[in-house]
Symmetry: C2
Subunit: 260 residues, 2 copies
DNA sequence: TTCACTATTATGTATATACATGTTCATGTC
DNA sequence: GACATGAACATGTATATACATAATAGTGAA
């Protein structure tokens, strides 16, 4: 492994089956492949990433090159590095470091109230036209549909309406979401690579009003989240918060991430 | 500059007057100082950062060390690097790469409608208790208070209520915000280091309803943004969107930032 | 068996070096 | 004066090397 220089020709490192297109630099290629394995779930949270020297050998490059990639992944919060032990895929954090929409139990706990939830309905069914709008699912694929009501103390706190793609989250078929909320379950279960939030205000319809114990037409904050992994769509969830509750808070820097 | 090794003693690089505490590594120290100069506005958008070799000489380190810092700053979107020319502080982007709350003119334009706005009121006054709640201002410091109505085509689009701290944005005293909106003016004028958004839903009060041409009590989305620079608070703005309009959209990755 | 000490291991930081890649600028020719 | 050519320059990527640091594993003495 002494002196590699610009070989290009030679045995291509062949890092198992990669669907990645050829990328400009080695750095980017290594970064992309490791990122892909993490975000697709091939390397689940807690998995130990090969040692730097081994990756260097695999890609036929120096440890410094691999080290820089690992440093970036650590900065980005995808891996955790421990001396002597190695580098590990990190446990999925809160929903996002940036937009502070965390697990509802936390949200309620921060108000010093005890959280409870009940499953209003849960069914397994085939995706219809409405579901295809909510999440870009293949037509009539199997989904789990769960509606839960979250309470802070005794009062209703928010309504959660969720569909989960069974194609990409098969374990959801077994979960009944009575003990852990669907949100917490997803958080600990499935790695994701992209999320999209849509936030709007609407007047409560009669159904929501009834469940939440508010007047029909009262202003509500709607937060819809669609989540994907590299394999495809995972889940769509709609939270309905009565408007007289505290809102959402998001903090960030110009670059969208804290440095230093 | 040949072979520096671990000197520690010797002439401290003395990179002008820094209020920074001593940081762990040289890397972090350089990163922090440059970031500070950018975020404080000492190095405004467009400013050319010293060449890597010069910074290396200044800090008494190798170019590689500086290069890594610059690479991070570029990844974070704070600087732009051009070969032969050097590295430059970037023009402030949209309000955020992550949370897609852009300039209102853009927002309206994306709906294929022409944007117009009018200043409902503008005054210079001393901060009261309410302003201290909105923005953590020193008591009775001078602020500019502007209320504008934005229109998409002929219809009211949203209401903007803003206060600007004159202590930290003195140029605001001269601006009347008739030609450019207050948002666009701030965006091009002032570098910021932190922003906090608060999002909630409320029923429209009679004043908002009148200005926006909606019914009193109709659901509205309220987006409040507080922005700081390193020097202190800059501005607080509250946008009120009628709830029957499209909402906000935010997209992101687990780490809060796109890699690769 | 327990505790202290040491060796090993994997990451963390920094260096010097080499060459590639685009830009800009100056130069010389037509 | 217009234009092609090439030198100079600043960044971009990668290498080999060195030593620091933290955590683990192993060894030996009380």
């Amino acid at each position: 492994m002494t002196d590699m220089r610009r070989d290009a020709g030679g045995q291509e490192p062949v890092a198992t089956g990669e669907p990645h297109p050829k990328e400009a630099t080695l750095h980017q290629r290594i970064l992309g492949e490791i990122e892909g394995r993490i975000l697709s779930g091939e390397w689940p949270p807690g998995h130990r990433i090969p040692f730097e020297v081994d990756l260097a050998a695999l890609y036929g490059c120096s440890r410094m090159t691999v080290n820089k990639v690992m440093t970036r992944l650590a900065d980005a919060g995808l891996i955790e590095r421990r001396k002597k032990s190695g580098s590990f895929v990190i446990q999925p954090q809160a929903q996002s470091a940036v937009l502070d929409i965390h697990d509802i139990a936390d949200e309620v706990a921060s108000l010093n109230l005890t959280h409870s939830h009940s499953v209003v309905s849960r069914e397994r069914r085939r995706a219809g036209a409405e579901d295809m709008r909510r999440l870009d699912l293949p037509k009539s694929s199997a989904v789990i549909d769960v509606v839960s009501l979250h309470r802070a103390g005794a009062r209703p706190f928010c309504l959660e309406e969720r569909i989960i793609s069974l194609a990409n989250v098969p374990d959801a078929a077994q979960a009944d979401f009575a003990a852990t909320t669907a949100g917490a379950w997803m958080l600990n279960q499935v790695p994701w690579s992209m999320a999209e939030h849509r936030i709007r205000a609407v007047g409560a319809g009669p159904r929501e009003a009834g469940l939440l114990g508010i007047e029909s037409g009262a202003a509500c904050l709607i937060v819809e989240r669609r989540t994907w992994s590299n394999a495809g769509p995972l889940t769509h969830v709609r939270f309905t918060y009565p408007g007289d509750r505290h809102g959402l808070i998001a903090r960030f820097t110009p670059s969208g991430q804290a440095l230093s």
